[in-house]
């Protein structure tokens, strides 16, 4: 059975989010967010700055604590977990790709070390195997083997982002959170990264939640789309359907405001 067939065979959501709410004092961060995410699915979250999409992502990833609601991962209640359990989850099953690679990399450590460190954190001890796996992953994200001992500070922005992805995926996570992963990159570099991400999602059967303000990125990457405004989800559905036949006034405005290249 291939990865895809296995995925089709599993009919249980990997992640269930129900009524998730986060307030900052009297202000709403995000309110009453509900969705399911299945294995192999990419969910895009779009909305303008301040719409609550980043708050939602950080509550999901456990960087912030939600005030209300439930998050269930693979049948386990995430908000009821102990801090140790949750940390173990974010080191093994989960990954988080930051917009700025500097937030997700250790800039003083070599590229190979950045990837190998993650393996050691989950118990790998054999140096040869760690290095072998690190080199393999650098290859997958198209970083030449002769750069393995260079520090990320010597890399271009696009390479740093690909290194961050390798560091995140080396431990074989099932759920990846991405915050504007293509933001701040040249369009040519963006295309290369999109191609890479699509291949990884397909071949590894990853589930991904990607926050972005770039509608072209979600069209090419996300299966489903959620549109947020003022902390609430105003519309969700199949990505191309939401973009081509938007139902909510805000989504219509968002879609019609995109400049055509």
């Amino acid at each position: 059975m291939t990865v895809m067939e296995k995925l089709v065979a599993t009919d249980q959501p990997l992640l269930r989010v129900d009524g998730l709410t986060k307030r900052y004092g009297p202000r709403i961060g995000c309110a009453d967010v509900t969705f399911d995410l299945y294995p192999g699915e990419v969910l895009g979250i779009v909305g303008e700055s301040g719409s609550g999409k980043s708050t939602l992502l950080s509550c999901l990833a456990g960087h912030q604590r939600a005030d209300l609601g439930r998050i269930s991962y693979d049948g386990r209640d995430v908000l009821a977990m102990s801090e140790t359990e949750r940390r173990r989850l974010s080191r093994t099953d989960w990954a988080y790709v930051h917009q700025n690679p500097r937030d997700g990399l250790r800039m003083g450590v070599s590229a190979g070390g950045n990837v190998g460190e993650r393996l050691m954190a989950v118990g790998a001890r054999h140096y040869g195997q760690i290095r072998g796996k690190a080199v393999d992953w650098l290859g997958r994200v198209e970083i030449a083997v002769d750069r393995v001992d260079d520090r990320p500070s010597a890399f271009s922005g696009g390479m740093q982002q690909r290194l961050q992805i390798a560091r995140n995926l080396v431990t074989g996570p099932r759920l990846v959170f991405m915050d504007e992963p293509t933001g701040g990159l040249d369009v040519s570099v963006q295309a290369r990264l999109l191609d890479l991400l699509r291949g990884l999602v397909r071949d590894l059967g990853l589930s991904v939640i990607i926050v972005t303000h770039d509608l072209a990125v979600v069209r090419l990457l996300a299966h489903r789309l959620m549109v947020m405004k003022s902390g609430r989800v105003v519309e969700q559905g199949l990505t191309d359907q939401v973009l081509d036949d938007p139902q909510h006034a805000y989504t219509q405005l968002l879609v019609s405001s995109v400049l055509q290249a």
């Binding site: 895809m4 090419l220 359907q241 081509d244 036949d245 219509q252």
Partner: protein
């Protein structure tokens, strides 16, 4: 294979005075396995809108829209994703791909998404590209830089890579020369022979006469303006 019953559709333009524009009412048709049904009607009559609704790209306001055993009108997004992956192919007039991806992979992608081994998927892609006369030296390049006719043929190769039981074709012969038009018509005939249900838009009257078993004029589905 495809059964449409009293389908309706309207667009509500919230940012233009909430104007409601009814675009379709009472649309009904069926396409049996092995049959090709052509949609006719003037530009703006709703041919593409109907095709987009069948594909789940546009939402429906009312009615039933059965493809295989799924009602697309009420299906969950993930059911439509699975339908598009396994059952329902779509050759649109425009190629929309990630820039930089080689043509061979663009064509192989529907098979890779189904879990077909990469080598088999690329073999199938290569044979389609060869049949459609895309020179082999272009296969490693992204189709985004190709001419309109070449892009159209890449799009067709991609649409025929997997043997979908149902297929939507939007002007598949539009910008093709005689030789390539013949290849596409043969591909359509082969798909029919293996039992695919095809719904298509063909402005090319010769093509329409050759592959379509029946024609449906969508003008009959245009809502009457209120008197």
């Amino acid at each position: 294979m495809i059964r449409i019953e009293s389908l309706s559709k309207s667009f509500t333009l919230h940012n233009q005075g909430s104007a409601v524009i009814p675009v379709m009412a009472g649309a009904s048709l069926t396409v049996a396995p092995g049959e090709c049904v052509g949609l006719t009607g003037q530009s703006g009559a709703g041919k593409s809108t109907l095709m987009r609704m069948v594909y789940g790209n546009y939402l429906t306001a009312g009615g039933r829209l059965i493809v295989g055993d799924l009602d697309v009108a009420t299906a969950e997004p993930r059911q439509i994703i699975a339908l598009r992956r396994h059952t329902l192919g779509y050759v649109s007039q425009f190629l929309r791909v990630v820039p930089r991806v080689p043509t061979l992979d663009v064509v192989a992608e529907p098979l890779l998404a189904l879990g077909t081994p990469a080598e088999d998927a690329r073999d199938r892609a290569a044979s389609l590209l060869r049949r459609l006369n895309i020179p082999e030296r272009l296969w490693s390049l992204s189709p985004t830089t190709f001419s309109g006719g070449e892009q159209q043929r890449v799009n067709i190769a991609r649409g025929f890579a997997h043997t979908y039981p149902a297929l939507l074709l939007d002007e598949p012969t539009a910008s093709l020369d005689a030789a390539n038009r013949e290849v596409v018509l043969t591909l359509i005939e082969e798909a029919k022979a293996r039992g695919a249900a095809i719904l298509g838009i063909f402005h090319d009257e010769g093509a329409r006469a050759r592959v379509c078993d029946r024609l449906v004029d969508v003008t009959g589905f245009t809502p009457r303006l209120a008197a």
